[in-house]
């Protein structure tokens, strides 16, 4: 049996350039004050009319860091994404199929059984979804998008995946195909889903079942397009192109 090496060995390195880039940020002086404002504002615990005005000094202090983080024993899943494979795990005792994978079964009856890796098909269905018209900073340029929880065929759990389609088309139970993005970095954004063609939106779909829902959604998507144009110069037609996969 091979002995465990005392020092972990890097067997593939796709990180060195980014480490160099981020060294800059450390040198830029995180946590030190880069500028300030003097602000006259209300002070006090009570109602505004009971507060008095005080002068406050407001400092600007950056904080940017580069973490290195092991995906642990589910590394195989994320390396799989880079290599265009979708993996899950299966408990040999209760047969539960996990995607996201767990290397240990969480069924109390199985007493933390080790699971086995299996390759899953690039198909699934939408378990539930939201249409995002605003998001965290890192995702703003992707707006508007469908954040869905997709149950991969053969898996018992669901996983968040963006469905690339016109937001007014998505519904619960929609069959989707999983696609890999051209540029893959080893996180869940390496994949996205597109609806299988030829499906009819069910009459009882909670979104499209009420006409005003769709009208209101379209109205507010226009607001999002205006924001995208102003902030990033992204046009509505560019967004709509994304959905023609």
């Amino acid at each position: 049996m091979a002995r465990e090496p005392k020092i972990p060995k890097i067997i593939e390195d796709k990180a060195t350039p980014i480490k160099k880039e981020w060294e800059e940020y450390a040198r830029k002086g995180n946590w030190t004050v880069k500028g300030y404002e003097m602000v006259r504002a209300l002070s006090g615990p009570g109602l505004a009319e009971e507060c008095k005005e005080e002068d406050f000094m407001v400092v600007y202090r950056p904080h940017g860091v580069l973490y290195h983080h092991s995906y642990g024993l589910v590394s195989k899943f994320f390396k799989g994404l880079i290599d265009k494979h979708l993996f899950g795990t299966k408990c040999p005792k209760c047969k539960t199929v996990y995607c996201p994978p767990r290397v240990h079964c969480w069924n109390p009856e199985c007493r933390v059984a080790d699971t086995e890796w299996i390759e899953l098909p690039l198909r699934g269905k939408v378990h539930t979804f939201s249409v995002m018209l605003f998001s965290a900073e890192a995702f703003l340029e992707m707006l508007p998008f469908v954040l869905a929880y997709v149950q991969i065929d053969g898996a018992d759990t669901a996983m968040p995946i963006q469905v690339v389609t016109a937001p007014t088309n998505v519904f619960i139970g929609q069959k989707v195909t999983i696609k890999f993005r051209e540029k893959r970095t080893g996180d869940l954004m390496d994949i996205y889903a597109v609806p299988v063609k030829g499906q009819k939106i069910p009459a009882d779909s909670c979104l499209q079942g009420h006409e005003e829902n769709v009208n209101d959604l379209k109205r507010d998507m226009e607001n999002t397009y205006a924001f995208l144009d102003k902030r990033f110069g992204i046009k509505k037609k560019d967004v709509e192109k994304r959905w023609k996969v």
Binding site: A41, S43, P45, T96, H127, S135, D204, C206
Partner: protein, 429 residues
């Protein structure tokens, strides 16, 4: 279990706002100072232990802020620590202090809570909050609680047929309560006029099915509570509010895992059966991604301790931790105010409105009053203390929100996507 009784003796608040410039320790100090005015017989040195709650270290570039706050108000030397559990941070803080007093370790505890959430821009605040989700699996795909919660609500909506109008009714009700609460952010920003469903429909969707009005506020504010045993309660307070029951619960970190939730599998059979035939059933039908199992667990325990069998009838006022309006609707079911799927009926019958069977969110709740996370449940508890003590007119200068002679109240806490939380039942006697 120890038969010692534990009470909320009173408290104080620092009015929350979207941005406040007094800093956190000063805000807490001012809340504490206003609390002391209600306790002329209290020598601050009598306080035996200090518990603190704030949610995020990221928001203020500060770990261990509780140490700053505890010494700032001169309450150091004695024991104390911080409790943290996402959105349930503040409720768990109260429950933890309850356990410490109940066990006989202490008789008098000061409970502090605060959050300063506007030191980074709104999108980054949301990003920091979302880092309470699983950052390997959930955060990477849209990273935003509004989105996760919206997806949970979509599922419930598909299963049980509530509509945008039902969510709108809650949003409108919260605002029309908040205009009578001068400490509410809604009133500070929008004045005292009532709003209607038509106004709601004009509001912008941010994560369908949620509009801005359906979502929790971002806030800076603080609150403190004084908690004590029966031994000190009568001397210090004219209107102690007793803790009649508490319960805690948890569910999976990732909501997507709840489709095969072995810990819940087969536990709530009646709820598993209340599943519509036209939607494909996951292996574990309750709570799956539609309801909040942690709340059922917590409620069961709290009701058993408080001797409650028909919560809708027996409870008189509720301040629920509902960061999104759909959460409130689902909680009606998980807290057993109604069977699964009937949350919408309670809304349509107006039972949870002012003057209804069980008025909820009279303060305006997290969407219209305020949501400085580490203080939120303290503020809701303080509001219930004013309700049970008949103090609403005195504290708010307006009696509109006062429930007539309430005896029993409920509050909940709620972290992550329903990953952890609790229930407290308060009683006047």
């Amino acid at each position: 279990m120890s038969d010692r009784r534990v009470a909320i003796l009173g408290g104080g608040l620092y009015r929350p706002g979207r941005v406040r410039y007094d800093n956190a320790e000063e805000g807490v100090a001012m809340a504490y100072k206003s609390m002391l005015q209600d306790f002329p017989n209290l020598d601050p040195r009598e306080i035996e232990f200090v518990q603190s709650s704030y949610f995020s270290d990221h928001l203020n570039q500060q770990l261990c802020m509780a140490w700053i706050v505890q010494d700032y108000i001169g309450q150091h030397r004695k024991g104390g620590y911080r409790v943290e559990a996402g959105g349930s941070t503040a409720l768990d803080n109260i429950i933890n202090a309850y356990y410490l007093i109940k066990s006989g370790q202490y008789d008098l505890i000061l409970v502090l809570g605060w959050e300063w959430m506007s030191e980074v821009d709104t999108a980054t605040t949301n990003e920091f909050i979302a880092s309470a989700s699983d950052t390997d699996w959930d955060f990477t795909v849209g990273g935003f609680y509004n989105g996760y919660y919206a997806a949970l609500e979509t599922r419930h909506m598909q299963l049980y047929g509530e509509t945008i109008e039902d969510l709108g009714r809650l949003a409108v009700r919260n605002r029309n309560n908040a205009v009578h609460n001068p400490y509410s952010q809604w009133r500070a920003e929008h004045g005292t006029g009532y709003v209607t469903l038509d106004d709601y429909y004009k509001d912008r969707i941010i994560a369908w099915p949620y509009r801005r009005w359906n979502c929790a506020l971002i806030s800076e504010g603080a609150c403190c509570l004084l908690m004590g045993s029966e031994k000190v309660a009568k001397r210090l307070s004219n209107d102690p509010m007793w803790i009649a029951g508490v319960g805690l619960g948890t569910d999976s970190m990732r909501p997507g895992d709840r489709l095969v939730d072995w810990a819940y599998h087969g536990v709530y059979k009646a709820d598993e059966k209340l599943y519509p035939a036209n939607v494909e059933k996951p292996k574990t039908p309750y709570p799956e991604m539609a309801n909040f199992g942690f709340a059922r667990e917590a409620a069961r325990k709290a009701y058993a301790q408080a001797g409650i069998s028909d919560p809708l009838k027996e409870l008189d006022v509720a301040e629920l931790f509902a960061p999104y309006d759909g959460v409130e609707l689902c909680l009606y079911e998980d807290l057993m105010f109604c069977p699964r799927g009937e949350g919408k009926t309670l809304i349509r019958q107006g039972l949870m409105e002012r003057g209804g069977e069980l008025p909820c969110q009279l303060s305006g709740g997290l969407t219209s009053f305020t949501h400085p996370v580490g203080a939120t449940s303290l503020l809701q508890t303080l509001f219930l203390h004013w309700q049970l003590g008949g103090l609403i007119k005195k504290k708010l200068g307006d009696a509109t929100l006062q429930v007539k002679k309430p005896k029993k109240a409920i509050t909940t806490g709620h972290g992550g996507t329903g990953c952890q939380g609790g229930v407290i039942i308060y009683s006047k006697d």
